[in-house]
């Protein structure tokens, strides 16, 4: 029994925190979210590539950092803490898919993604809700991929898409003339979703069965990663809150001296710390391929979703009027959390997954 990070991961935590505090405090990253078309800084992602963060989870032989699932959680937690913009987790998931398919072209794209030269992204969903569909409508037929994918996270920035089809997983490099990509602006103004209509040449990488196996593994990593992001978002949001409670005055007192607000903050802290326990226990189980990993990952995602909604929502409430202004940062955290609750396996789907993992 041990809860501390090992030496490598502790070091990783220090370095990514330093990097993010220097490069993307919200004062610097908000213009990326709010004033660029991509929603993130390509230069910064290239730098992340140079520093090895983009290949974090890959083995050394694949040019990666072999940081494991715990290492990924460490980095994503820190990214959540500053509400780091862009498709970092999506790139990791695409890489994890690429490295599982054992295909030469895929390996080449993998290298280019790790180094930050190319964006390879997954295009899987065919509906905006989180309900399960019996079959995929996108088809692979005679070297062509036809169908519509939505929402695709940061899909407008993709150089290559990994597309799920009824026939299996297909690789679709961006054609010269581009895809028909329609922007889907959402509540979280920092996010970039698109709907992509495909009628493009592509290649089948694996059949349906193998694709399902691979993507089930990748989904676990996605759920864990989103949980770690939400843990970080709670941390960042709670830090803002505690500072504000200690500084803001009303009725002649620091508002943090009101018992009702104290207990609210205590509940926020309980949620955050419990999420931390859940995320790292799940990361550890996944890293060690333990049987209970399915239950623990699903539990972490569902619990972090509910918790982050509460923590980041109450931050707005405790800030009062200014919490509702664009200028202040609480809404950045809140909006991100609302999106993450739905993606990487929505809360209700994770709850069902938790039950099924126990044969219930």
């Amino acid at each position: 029994m041990q809860f501390e990070l090992n030496e490598n991961n502790a070091l990783l935590k220090t370095s990514i925190r330093e990097f993010l505090e220097k490069e993307t405090p919200l004062a610097k990253s908000r213009p990326m979210m709010e004033e660029t078309q991509e929603g993130f800084s390509k230069e910064l992602y290239a730098e992340l590539g140079d520093l090895g963060y983009l290949g974090l989870t890959l083995s050394e032989s694949e040019g990666g950092g072999a940081a494991g699932v715990i290492g990924l959680a460490v980095v994503l937690e820190e990214m959540g803490r500053v509400a780091f913009p862009g498709p970092f987790l999506d790139l990791v998931l695409a890489e994890e898919t690429l490295c599982r398919v054992k295909d030469q072209q895929a390996s080449q794209f993998l290298q280019e993604t790790v180094s930050g030269q190319k964006n390879v992204l997954l295009a899987r969903s065919e509906a905006l809700d989180d309900l399960e569909r019996s079959s995929l409508q996108t088809r692979f037929d005679q070297d062509m991929i036809r169908g519509t994918k939505l929402p695709v996270s940061y899909g407008a920035s993709a150089d290559v898409l990994l597309v799920t089809t009824a026939e299996g997983l297909a690789l679709v490099p961006r054609p010269e003339e581009g895809w028909k990509a329609t922007s889907l602006p959402v509540l979280d103004h920092a996010q970039r979703f698109v709907e992509i209509s495909l009628d493009s040449p592509g290649r089948l990488l694996t059949d349906k069965q193998r694709a399902d196996t691979i993507l089930k593994e990748v989904d676990q990593l996605g759920a864990l990663g989103a949980s770690a992001l939400m843990l970080g978002l709670m941390e960042g949001s709670l830090e803002l809150t505690l500072d504000y409670l200690k500084e803001r005055k009303a009725f002649g007192r620091t508002i943090g001296s009101f018992q009702v607000l104290q207990h609210r903050a205590a509940d926020m802290w309980i949620r955050m710390e419990s999420s931390r326990s859940a995320v790292y226990r799940a990361a550890w189980a996944l890293e060690n391929s333990l049987e209970e990993a399915s239950l623990l990952v699903a539990s972490a995602k569902a619990y972090c979703g509910d918790s982050a909604r509460f923590v980041c929502g109450e931050t707005i409430q405790l800030f009062g009027g200014v919490g509702y202004t664009w200028e202040y940062d609480p809404h950045i955290y809140y909006k991100r959390v609302k999106t993450l609750e739905q993606l990487y396996g929505s809360t209700r789907n994770q709850l069902e997954a938790a039950l099924q993992s126990q044969g219930i």
């Binding site: 509906a127 905006l128 809700d129 989180d130 309900l131 939505l150 929402p151 329609t182 922007s183 889907l184 602006p185 959402v186 509540l187 979280d188 103004h189 979703f193 709907e195 005055k249 009303a250 009725f251 002649g252 009101f258 009702v260 607000l261 909604r309 929502g313 707005i316 409430q317 009062g320 009027g321 919490g323 509702y324 202004t325 664009w326 200028e327 809404h331 809140y334 909006k335 609302k338 999106t339 609750e341 739905q342 993606l343 929505s346 809360t347 209700r348």
Partner: protein, 389 residues
């Protein structure tokens, strides 16, 4: 005991419904969705809609006829709010709902004559100058000063969270006339925004819109003839304004919620999940709470209709509708998924409902007009008589 509208009131509803059918060209959500409409344009639509309502006698429904009202009761006013759900909000909502009743109760004959008609017609749009950066929940901490200048006063200070400040003509201001008397040193002024010494800056909200503004006073003139009540009576008048803000609006919110829940039910029907028992339970709870909210609303309406002023019980309604609004929006985002996150002009957005906007707005309603925390303080002190700490 009677929770029903009278036959006359039903008649009023039918006439209004017919009038709306005739006069409302486009539902408000379509105006919002129209990319040609910027915020200024949208406000102009509200202004002309208000003018149209005024012409047809649908403004100040429960005000005395002598003040341009229709001379009916709060009940007809609530019916109007419920029926006009798809119409644009009027431009001078704050003026008509909050300042109007206060003027009728507290202003002089001259003041009423001067201000009420133009307020109704929309010729003069009003905004509210209560909150300050360091006086939000603790409103009595306000520091904007009214310094005597001959017979009149000069204002120095700053107001914030002033809805529609950028498009308003007049502001009603609480200002400090005695720095040493926390409550008795506050006076209520009507102040023109079109003068020197006033600067209005929009505040951008988390929705991206700028409905609010800040108003800076540096020597702006507040005329003595535009002071409402006596010197130092501002707090008392403000409390009646806030009671109107809290008390009389449940039914207007209910009409919104009826529409929203209907959209949510449509949404889960369309996505095929309406028969899931978990979805049904969530929707049923929203339905049940909405009926409880309506029962509370009718009960308040009955109290107001019997001539009583809204009391501290208004805090119950404020808490209930604002917190319900959050549960409803969160419920929709849970059950409709990312479809409900789409902004109003996005493809695939729900055609009759802007859930993204509502989800964000539902975080504001538990803060403004007395936060949920302040309302619970009021209940525990003024109704339950629990001791101060």
């Amino acid at each position: 005991m009677d929770f029903q509208f009278s036959e006359e009131q039903q008649q009023f509803r039918m006439e209004l419904r017919a009038w709306l059918k005739e006069n409302l060209e486009r539902p408000w959500i379509e105006e919002l969705r129209d990319p040609k409409n910027d915020e200024k344009k949208l406000f102009d639509i509200r202004r002309s809609w208000q003018a149209k309502l005024h012409e047809s006698g649908y403004l100040g429904i429960h005000w005395p006829k002598e003040w341009g009202g229709r001379g009916l009761t709060v009940v007809e006013n609530a019916i109007f709010a419920a029926e006009a759900i798809h119409a644009p909000p009027i431009a001078s909502r704050v003026g008509i709902n909050l300042l109007g009743p206060a003027l009728i109760h507290h202003a002089t004959e001259e003041q009423r004559k001067r201000f009420i008609p133009k307020m109704l017609s929309g010729e003069e749009v009003w905004c509210q100058g209560f909150s300050e950066p360091d006086a939000g929940s603790d409103l009595a901490a306000l520091r904007t000063r009214a310094e005597p200048d001959g017979d009149d006063f000069r204002l120095e200070g700053q107001k914030v969270w002033t809805t529609f400040a950028p498009w308003s003509d007049w502001i009603f201001v609480l200002a400090r006339t005695d720095p040493d008397d926390r409550y008795g040193g506050i006076t209520f002024f009507l102040v023109s925004l079109h003068q020197e010494g006033i600067e209005v800056r929009p505040i951008r909200q988390i929705t991206g819109e700028s409905e609010f503004g800040e108003v800076f006073f540096s020597g702006a003139l507040a005329k003595r003839e535009h002071m409402v009540g006596a010197l130092g009576e501002g707090w008392k008048i403000a409390m009646t304004v806030l009671a109107y803000e809290r008390g009389s609006m449940s039914l207007a919110h209910l009409a919104r919620f009826d529409h929203y829940l209907k959209d949510l039910v449509e949404g889960v029907r369309e996505n095929g999940s309406l028969q899931r028992a978990d979805v049904r339970e969530k929707i049923a709870r929203l339905l049940v709470e909405k009926e409880v909210l309506r029962a509370n609303g009718y009960r308040t309406l009955a109290t107001l209709a019997s001539g009583q002023a809204p009391g501290p019980e208004a805090s119950l309604e404020k808490i209930f509708w604002s917190e319900y609004s959050r549960r409803l929006a969160d419920g929709a985002l849970d059950l409709l998924g990312l479809q409900a996150h789409l902004l109003v002009h996005s493809p695939h957005a729900r055609p009759h409902m802007d859930w993204a906007q509502e989800a964000l707005y539902s975080r504001a309603v538990t803060i403004y007009a007395g936060s949920s925390e302040i309302q619970r303080n009021i209940i525990s002190k003024r109704i339950l008589k629990l001791p101060s700490s």
